[in-house]
Symmetry: C2
Subunit: 135 residues, 2 copies
DNA sequence: AAATTTGTAACATATTTTATTACAGTATGA
DNA sequence: TCATACTGTAATAAAATATGTTACAAATTT
């Protein structure tokens, strides 16, 4: 399911890239996104789990990039934020006695999987540095 | 935002393609999807607005395909169901005093627009007939 | 020790999606 | 012509998901 995680995460990473020498606080980042700092910290927790950023607790603490922005692709960010492209499935199990109902989700899965590969190829060609340098 | 409209619509159209000589009732279709008939009728209303299906009211009424399945592409269905691919925007207006916040949505829009073109090209190559003949 | 910040859990609110009920209008055919 | 079986659509309800808030322990700096 699609949510704003990708957008939030890329916003965080762009900021970190713009201030490579500072530990940015979640409050500061939240001020740029206009979002609750707790939500920022949640996304940062995810980035930390993937060793993309490091953070420091305590006074003057915060977060900074731990990888080279040229090596981090939007595809990786896409995947780290658990995003997948899809156009929905029937929520309730479709009728198994109907030849269409029985197989539709399986066929949709193949289609969506191809869409994801397609988008992944595109996002693989864009680094965080590329994205950030647009600003 | 992504929902199940595309999946529901393609399910409906696949059924209609499988029974080209019958007017299928929303109840019958809903039984295959395992969905409330009213929701089926809503999607059919949309298809009717695009002249993809025709329907007949009253007893023994229902819906049938009004176009050649070979000529209807998944791209068209994608667009008719108002779907777009995206990975979210910051909901709240990002901070306009921050160079990143000020421009991020605009840059995301460009990125998402490219993703949509990419996916559209893919879906353009698949007709309803192609999809339906998998079953 | 005081101040500031992360990390995280628990809870609350808002938004979106899906489902239900209800009923007027239309066509069929016994 | 009347009972039946549909569509079309509005109004409302429920469920699911996403987003926001509060609270506070733990860590670090000065």
């Amino acid at each position: 399911m699609i949510s704003g995680k990708f957008a939030i995460t890329i916003h965080i990473l762009t900021l970190l890239h713009k201030f490579p020498n500072d530990y940015l606080s979640s409050e500061f980042i939240a001020g740029s996104i206009n979002l609750n700092p707790v939500l920022v910290r949640k996304e940062i927790a995810n980035l930390k789990a993937h060793h993309i950023v490091e953070s420091k607790e305590g006074k003057n603490g915060g977060t900074k990039l731990a990888v080279n922005a040229a090596d981090l692709t939007l595809k990786q960010i896409f995947e780290m934020t658990f995003e997948t492209i899809g156009l929905g499935f029937a929520k309730n199990q479709p009728n198994p006695d109907c030849p269409v109902g029985k197989n539709i989700n399986q066929h949709l899965e193949v289609l969506y999987s191809e869409m994801n590969q397609n988008v992944s190829r595109q996002l693989e060609g864009i680094s965080l540095e590329d994205f950030s340098n647009q600003f």
